[in-house]
Symmetry: C2
């Protein structure tokens, strides 16, 4: 039995899977449950500062057992980042994001972005803290940059439409807007009194109407 330094951890993974089909073999973790916990630990200590030993302690299994579920530490990261990026990228593929007034498309994308941040909170958190030290990280950063650029284009379109103020450089607007939204991963706690729906409302209100809050003559 490993040292079990901190954390609530414990095995408590397998048993019967969601689809109800009984699994063969010795019960324990599967890849998904390892990934979920790993991402949490990565977020608590930072990816680089998390050793496989610390991770093993948090899982309640030995270091080497981790390698039964995933080929390497990097693959663990890759799986997590794919999940985060997949969620974001799918937003831009939805019909509400591709047709209609730029202003409405922008609001849709922002609301959905907030929703994805919340739904996949730990995964997106990990994504937003990358430094680009490895090839895996750089690939993920590039995909994220592509997403950002597309939203930036949407902001520019809304501005050209006359829906947004014109006295601030759209690049500055984009960055401050992303700064505000992305900060959610640093403080939002699911299950609290602030619902994801309400959070999205607040973000939209604050972004479009500001703190002084003169009710906007939208639409």
């Amino acid at each position: 039995m490993p040292s079990q330094t901190t954390s609530t951890s414990g095995a408590a993974a397998n048993g019967t899977s969601a689809n109800g089909a009984a699994k063969r073999g010795r019960p324990g973790y599967d890849q998904q449950s390892v990934l979920r916990i790993a991402v949490d630990v990565f977020n608590r200590h930072g990816y680089d500062a998390t050793s496989m030993g610390i991770l093993a302690d948090n899982l309640g299994i030995s270091k080497s057992a981790i390698y039964h579920h995933v080929p390497s530490k990097g693959d663990l990261l890759k799986l997590a980042l794919d999940h985060a990026l997949g969620g974001l990228e799918s937003i831009l593929e939805q019909p509400e994001a591709t047709s209609g007034a730029a202003d409405a498309r922008l609001e849709f994308v922002l609301r959905r972005t907030v929703a994805v941040l919340v739904e996949r909170l730990p995964f997106v958190t990990l994504l937003l803290r990358l430094r680009g030290n490895t090839e895996i990280e750089r690939d993920a950063l590039e995909r994220r940059r592509t997403f950002d650029h597309k939203v930036a284009a949407l902001i520019s379109a809304a501005r050209d439409e006359g829906s947004l103020r014109q006295d601030i450089d759209p690049r500055t607007v984009t960055r401050l807007l992303f700064g505000m939204i992305n900060s959610i991963v640093e403080w939002y706690k699911p299950g609290g009194s602030l619902s994801p729906q309400r959070l999205a409302d607040d973000v939209i209100t604050m972004a479009f109407d500001g703190l002084h809050g003169h009710a906007s003559p939208t639409a």
Copy 2:
């Protein structure tokens, strides 16, 4: 001669110090110049992912030479964080932050915060990315939290005064506002076309009047 992997680095530090007083001994780095470069490297790779070897390469000197200027890697971090936190904390001590209408005090603090972020950009960047893995980091995070709470109190006061909208929880407002401002360290490049003054204006405009931008009837 060390490997000199990346970076522009090179020694080029000492010579004659700012006060003009000639220094004795062999010319080279002093603690300040080591610190400046170290903070840059920490920000590029992340503090944990930066080994003393990598740091030495970037400085153009050997690993052991670093220990002539600073007792440990942790001290390097501590020096940097003190500089960042000192800048922020001094804002709240100035008279414009302690007396007058809460609304005006808030705007002053926000503008000064933006200014400090820019003036001490790499140092504050390092601060804002901490994970709290060591005692040093946890102490710094605590000081930062104290600063945040004081600004949060200012926001609440301005709200009670009637200067700010009341339909969003002030804690949410505080966090989104900090998210927006703190994001500056992730993208702002000094020396570009966007001056610190203009940046502060844009932040204030966007925070108080929003993207739709109906000219505010301030004062």
